[in-house]
């Protein structure tokens, strides 16, 4: 499994889990379907980007950083669409992105040539 597929799979799973935690907010329960889909897509986009980065650079540290930044950015975009719940969306999105970034570095076949960042 190459790193991009790894990113997509983990992004989908972790994005879905992150979205599912919205169930603990009663006001969000009526919107669960949309939240789950949106969070999963957000996760897949972060995973795809992190996977692409992992193919280019072999570094756990930078994988986590890039994943976290991507997760934060896309979480901000989602929160900005609703103009609320910035903290509840961005903070978990930041950490979820970091996890996806780590997993794309740790799992999956390395390409034939890649640069290893110190």
């Amino acid at each position: 499994m190459n790193k991009i597929v790894v990113g997509l799979v983990f992004g989908l799973i972790l994005g879905a889990i992150d979205g599912a935690t919205a169930w603990f907010y009663p006001e969000a329960r009526s919107l669960m379907g949309g939240i789950l889909v949106g969070s999963s897509i957000k996760g897949m986009i972060v995973g795809l980007s992190s996977g692409w980065f992992a193919r280019k650079v072999e570094s756990t540290k930078w994988g986590v950083v890039v994943g976290a930044v991507l997760g934060l950015v896309f979480a901000y975009l989602v929160a900005a669409m609703q103009h609320e719940h910035y903290l509840e969306i961005m903070l978990p999105g930041f950490v979820t992105g970091a996890i996806i970034g780590f997993l794309t570095q740790a799992v999956g076949a390395k390409p034939a040539t890649s640069s290893a960042a110190r």
Binding site: Y25, V64, L87, P92, T96, A98, F102
Partner: protein, 275 residues
């Protein structure tokens, strides 16, 4: 005229020196002796370099030819074999500059360094076994660590000595399994005072009194050491659950911390809502 004991000893020593006439070597000094022969430092006059000359009884000339067939980074290369004018066999080999393993530990090397030395010695053993050669006397005195960290296993195939007690298998056979026993004893010798249980178990398995219960070959033993170094479970040890969990946590520390951070963030946000 009576001669003193010291003079007699000197004369006996000189008489025992090998006759190197007709060879390209010039004697320098004796550097060691074992049950099977004496090792001298000598100078190769043709190539102008120092070599080690091991002089054996002629009956052991086969040992020299045996060693010469083994070409491996951890086996001292043999340059030449032959018969001296006095009928004794000799072989000229690389003069290794370094320390014997029994003195190597005086430098308090790290566990990683100790295991590196064991692995290099084990690789030499594994290679020799594929060539049908058994060491028969593996012990710290027969392993040297060179000045650049290179490892050499020496004194191969010496059947008559058949092992040193602490490193000799209890079974009478001299085969690969007895070499495995000696390698396990070498590992145990190299381990620090409070070794990790997995390494103790690897040494114990190699030194099992029942040859059939030991590792099948040196490669299997080395693979278990490699698994230990990579944080994986080793075949020799049925580790308890708590140790397995600790090892899992150690190997996956980053992921576990990230998951803990996620859980922490979620809990924090949840409680912030409440207040």
């Amino acid at each position: 005229m009576d001669l003193s004991d010291s003079v007699l000893d000197h004369l006996r020593h000189v008489a025992a020196l090998p006759d190197l006439s007709g060879t390209r070597y010039e004697m320098e000094s004796e550097i060691g002796r074992g049950g099977m022969g004496v090792v001298y430092a000598a100078r190769d006059l043709q190539l102008d370099r120092r070599v080690a000359l091991k002089v054996l009884d002629a009956a052991l000339a086969d040992e020299a030819r045996l060693i010469a067939r083994l070409e491996h980074p951890a086996i001292v290369p043999v340059y030449e074999t032959g018969i001296l004018p006095d009928g004794r066999a000799f072989y000229a080999m690389k003069l290794v500059s370094g320390v014997r393993l029994d003195h190597y530990l005086d430098g308090a090397p790290s566990l990683a360094e100790r295991l590196r030395v064991i692995r290099r010695a084990g690789e030499a053993l594994a290679f020799a076994h594929t060539r049908g050669v058994i060491h028969r006397d593996l012990k710290p005195q027969n392993v040297m660590v060179g000045e650049f960290g290179e490892v050499y296993v020496m004194d191969w195939g010496v059947e008559a000595v058949a092992g040193t007690p602490a490193f000799r298998a209890p079974d009478a056979r001299l085969d690969q399994r007895s070499d495995i026993y000696a390698l396990g004893a070498l590992l145990r010798f190299m381990l620090p005072a409070s070794p990790p249980p997995a390494l103790r178990a690897i040494a114990a398995k190699a030194m099992n009194p029942d040859p059939a219960a030991r590792y099948a070959d040196a490669t299997a033993l080395l693979a278990d050491i490699e698994r230990f170094q990579e944080g994986q479970a080793v075949d020799a040890w049925a580790e308890p659950l708590w140790h397995r969990l600790r090892r899992f946590a150690s190997r996956n520390a980053v992921l576990l911390w990230l998951l803990a951070a996620y859980a922490g963030v979620k809990l924090l946000l949840f409680f912030l809502r409440l207040f």
